[in-house]
C-alpha cells in the first residue's frame, strides 16, 4: 500500500525500510525526466527535507522525503534510464530507499483516496 505526501511523493513501507518516489501526477507535470539523483547512502533526512533531485529538459526539482530516516540507497537504474520515472513512477522509477527512524510518521500521510481528492481540489 502506498502513502502520499502533499508534495507529491509516494512511500511504500516494508518493515523498517521504505521505498520513495514521485507520483504519476508529479512525473506528468514535470515532463520528460533526464536526470535523477538521491542523496548519498547514509545521509539522514527529516520528514519534508530534501532527499533527491529530478531534472527535466527545462528545470531541476527537489524531491522531499515524506518521513524521517536514513537513505539506504538510490535507484541505480535511473543513472542510465531516468525516463523510468515517467514510464513507471511507482514501480521501476522509484528514487530511493530509506530506513525509517519514526515509523509512526507514515500514519500522518495520505492514502490513495485522500491524495486523489487533493488533486481534484487543486
Amino acid at each position: 500500500m502506498l502513502h502520499y505526501s502533499k508534495s507529491h511523493e509516494w512511500i511504500r513501507v516494508d518493515g523498517e525500510i521504505a521505498t520513495v518516489g514521485i507520483t504519476a501526477h508529479a512525473a506528468e507535470q514535470l515532463g520528460d525526466l533526464v536526470f535523477a539523483e538521491a542523496e548519498s547512502a547514509g545521509t539522514t533526512v527529516s520528514a519534508g527535507g530534501q532527499a533527491a533531485t529530478v531534472e527535466s529538459v527545462k528545470a531541476a526539482s527537489e524531491v522531499y522525503s515524506p518521513v524521517s530516516g536514513e537513505i539506504v540507497e538510490g535507484n541505480p537504474a535511473l543513472a542510465a534510464d531516468p525516463a523510468l520515472i515517467n514510464t513507471d513512477p511507482t514501480g521501476e522509477g522509484w528514487l530511493f530507499k530509506l530506513r525509517l527512524s519514526d515509523p509512526a510518521q507514515v500514519d500522518a500521510l495520505m492514502d490513495e483516496d485522500a491524495y486523489n481528492a487533493m488533486l481534484l481540489d487543486a
Binding site: G31, D32, F35, E55, S56, V57, K58
Partner: protein, 373 residues
C-alpha cells in the same frame, strides 16, 4: 504579476491542440504539447515543427535606404550594404558596448523589417524613436503573428503553400503569399535547422498555421523545445547569454560585426560603444562565451559558478544557459569564463547543489547547423 498573460493570435489553436501553456514575457505561450519537449525537439531535427513566436516584436522602418543607413548608428552590423531580399543578425549596443537586445534585420522591398525580443520590444521601440532621424518612419506591428517552421521538412511543407519558398536561400527575406495570405517570409530561425519565419496579420495566423500543420511531417512544438534546440545550436538567449554588460566580442559574436564596421572598414564604428568594442577586437576581451560539456549526466544550469580547480579558489566564470540536449543525448551548457580559461579542452568545475562537477570547454555549436546554403 501586474498584467495577465496576453494571448497570441494562435491562442485558441494552442488550446485546441492540447498545449501546456505558460506565461513568457507577458504572453501566454505553449511550453509543449501532448508529446512533450523531448519528442518535439527530436521531431524538429527529424521532420518539421511549427512554433508560435508571435510574442517577438515586429517593427517596420521606411524608407528602406534611409532606415538602413540610420540603423547603423545603433548596431555594429552592416545594414547599409544588406541587399534587398536579405536578412542579417544584429545587436543594439549601449555606450559600454553591451547588448541592449539582439534582433534580426530584413531588407524587404521598400522597408527594413526588424524582429526583436518580446521582453525588450517596448524599450527597443523607444530606443529607435529616440535615435533614428525623423525621415525614418517607425511602425511597430506588435499585433502581428510570427510563426517559425523549422526542420528538414520545412521547405517542402512551406513550398506546398507557397512555391517560391523553395527558391530561397539561408537568410533570404521576401514578401510572399502563404496559402493565399500576404506574409513576410525569411529563411532563418533559432534551432540550427533549415526553416522559415513567417509573419502574417493576426486574423490570418490561424488559417496559415492550420495549413502548415496539415502538411506531411509538420507537428506543433512549444518554447521548451525551441530553447533546447537553440542551446544545442549554440545560439544566445537574450537575458541569459546576452545582457547590457556583455559585448558582442565577449559573446563570441564577432561575426555579427561585418568588416565594413570594424576598425579600418569603410563605415567603421559610429554605433554606441564602438570604442570599447574596437579595443576588445584589438586586444581580446577579458572574458568569453564558451560551450561546456559536463563530464557526468547531471545538467549544469544557469547561474552555476565555474572554478578552475576541483576545490577552493575564486569563481572564474558563470553558466548562462544550461540543460539537457536531446540530440546530444546529455547535458550541455554555455558560460562566460575569464579569457585565460576559455580555450577549448580546458577542464573546469561547475558548482551544482554544493558539489563541484567536472565540465570541459568545447567548441560551439553542439549540433552542426543544417542551414540551406
Amino acid at each position: 504579476m501586474a498584467e495577465p498573460a496576453a494571448p497570441t493570435p494562435l491562442h485558441a489553436l494552442h488550446l485546441e491542440l492540447g498545449a501546456r501553456m505558460a506565461e513568457f514575457a507577458g504572453y501566454a505561450l505553449p511550453i509543449h504539447y501532448a508529446k512533450g519537449i523531448l519528442a518535439e525537439h527530436l521531431h524538429t531535427r527529424a521532420a518539421a515543427s511549427l512554433y508560435d513566436v508571435s510574442h517577438m516584436g515586429q517593427i517596420g522602418l521606411t524608407p528602406a535606404a534611409d532606415a538602413a543607413c540610420a540603423l547603423e548608428a545603433l548596431v555594429p552590423a552592416d545594414i547599409a550594404a544588406l541587399g534587398e531580399g536579405r536578412q542579417r543578425y544584429a545587436l543594439f549596443t549601449n555606450p559600454a558596448g553591451g547588448a541592449i537586445d539582439d534582433l534580426m534585420v530584413a531588407h524587404l522591398p521598400g522597408e527594413i523589417l526588424l524582429v526583436v525580443n518580446a521582453a525588450g520590444k517596448a524599450d527597443d521601440l523607444a530606443h529607435l524613436r529616440a535615435h533614428l532621424p525623423t525621415r525614418v518612419a517607425i511602425e511597430p506591428r506588435f499585433d502581428r503573428a510570427l510563426m517559425a517552421l523549422q526542420g528538414p521538412l520545412a521547405e517542402s511543407a512551406l513550398a506546398a503553400l507557397c512555391r517560391e519558398a523553395a527558391t530561397m536561400g539561408f537568410m533570404d527575406a521576401r514578401r510572399l503569399d502563404v496559402a493565399g495570405f500576404p506574409a513576410t517570409v525569411t529563411r532563418s530561425g533559432y534551432t540550427g535547422e533549415d526553416g522559415f519565419e513567417i509573419g502574417v496579420a493576426a486574423e490570418d495566423a490561424a488559417p496559415v498555421a492550420r495549413a502548415l500543420l496539415a502538411q506531411p511531417g509538420v507537428m506543433p512544438a512549444g518554447l521548451g523545445a525551441r530553447d533546447s534546440l537553440r542551446l544545442e545550436a549554440g545560439l544566445c538567449l537574450y537575458g541569459h547569454d546576452l545582457d547590457p554588460t556583455t559585448t558582442p566580442v565577449e559573446a563570441a559574436l564577432i561575426w555579427a560585426i561585418q568588416k565594413s564596421r570594424r576598425p579600418g572598414g569603410e563605415r567603421a564604428g559610429g554605433y554606441p560603444g564602438s570604442d570599447v568594442i574596437a579595443e576588445q577586437l584589438a586586444d581580446g576581451p577579458s572574458r568569453r562565451r564558451v560551450g561546456l560539456k559536463p563530464e557526468g549526466r547531471a545538467p549544469v544550469r544557469d547561474p552555476a559558478p565555474l572554478f578552475a580547480a576541483e576545490a577552493g579558489g575564486e569563481a572564474i566564470g558563470t553558466v548562462t544557459s544550461g540543460g539537457f540536449g536531446p540530440t546530444v543525448g546529455g547535458p550541455i551548457a554555455m558560460a562566460y569564463v575569464a579569457a585565460q580559461h576559455a580555450a577549448p579542452g580546458t577542464r573546469l568545475w561547475a558548482e551544482v547543489r554544493g558539489r563541484r562537477l567536472a565540465v570541459d570547454i568545447v567548441p560551439l555549436p553542439f549540433v552542426p547547423p543544417a542551414f540551406k546554403r
